[in-house]
Subunit: 166 residues, 2 copies
């Protein structure tokens, strides 16, 4: 097999294109075995063997987890964690929060009495790189952004997360 037969640029017969396809497949449907993955890749015109898929899976760090009677592959822990943290943050924000504003580097979140530290923990876990840290009082969380624009980005991201249906 030639490593670089095509160059359609973003999604085909290169190694990284294939790996992107694998991530996509694993994310969107249930993949139980490497052979199954090989089949799915074939139907995307990516012809590979199980051996290659095995190597890809290692490089991508995919998890193999027991699911029902059998096993399935999942996205790497880092992705799962980020996603889980995101969703917990959504819950925390939507349940306990009354407002968010940013003034320069500093963000203020008004939360319900006693829930500030809960919200702060959720924020910490989400690991935004724009966010240097949080301080929780009883009903207020103070956020310290890494820069003024970072603060604006963070505000936008939080608003998005808050509105997301997920």
């Amino acid at each position: 097999m030639s490593p670089t037969v095509e160059r359609a640029g973003n999604s085909v017969a290169t190694k990284s294109g294939r790996q992107r396809a694998i991530l996509d497949l694993v994310r969107s449907r249930t993949i139980r075995t490497q052979e199954e993955l090989v089949g799915a890749l074939r139907s995307r015109h990516l012809d590979v063997t199980q051996a290659t898929v095995s190597r890809d899976i290692r490089e991508l760090g995919l998890l193999r987890v027991p699911a029902g009677s059998g096993v399935r592959y999942l996205l790497p822990a880092a992705e799962i964690d980020a996603e889980a943290a995101r969703s917990r943050l959504h819950n925390a924000l939507s349940q306990h929060t009354q407002g968010i504003e940013f003034i320069d580097l500093l963000g203020i979140i008004h939360a319900q009495p006693g829930t500030a530290s809960l919200v702060a923990v959720a924020l910490d876990n989400a690991r935004f790189e724009e966010l240097a840290g949080t301080v929780a009082g009883d009903d207020t969380v103070l956020l310290i952004a890494r820069s003024r624009p970072a603060g604006q980005r963070l505000l936008a991201r939080l608003r998005t997360i808050l509105e997301e249906p997920a």
Copy 2:
């Protein structure tokens, strides 16, 4: 093999004892293959075969993840979370709490002034199935158990957590 050869109660040759040992091993050292796990169990005087370990791993939902050149087993995310929550609860209880008692379905935790909601949050996060919910005042947390026996179990579990070194 007999399923209930012993009844020393807390850690031996029953299925659940073995599974606890497996969790313990996976937590504390790097387990790369099921055979390796079999060996480790042997040295704890738990004689099993790879087949049994395979079934245990499925039941426990252990993750198999690529690690360096090779693979290793890890605890499922749920457990990791539960464990983290447990440990936070331990901290919360031991730092802010002065006493726990149960009367029928209702539990009362006396906490230091202003810390009740903190403790309550930690309890909520620990997701005990015996626990229907909590109400936090300023220095008192009220717990509502799902049943009388659930209340007793919960009390026992909380006391254990409180005393645990971990």
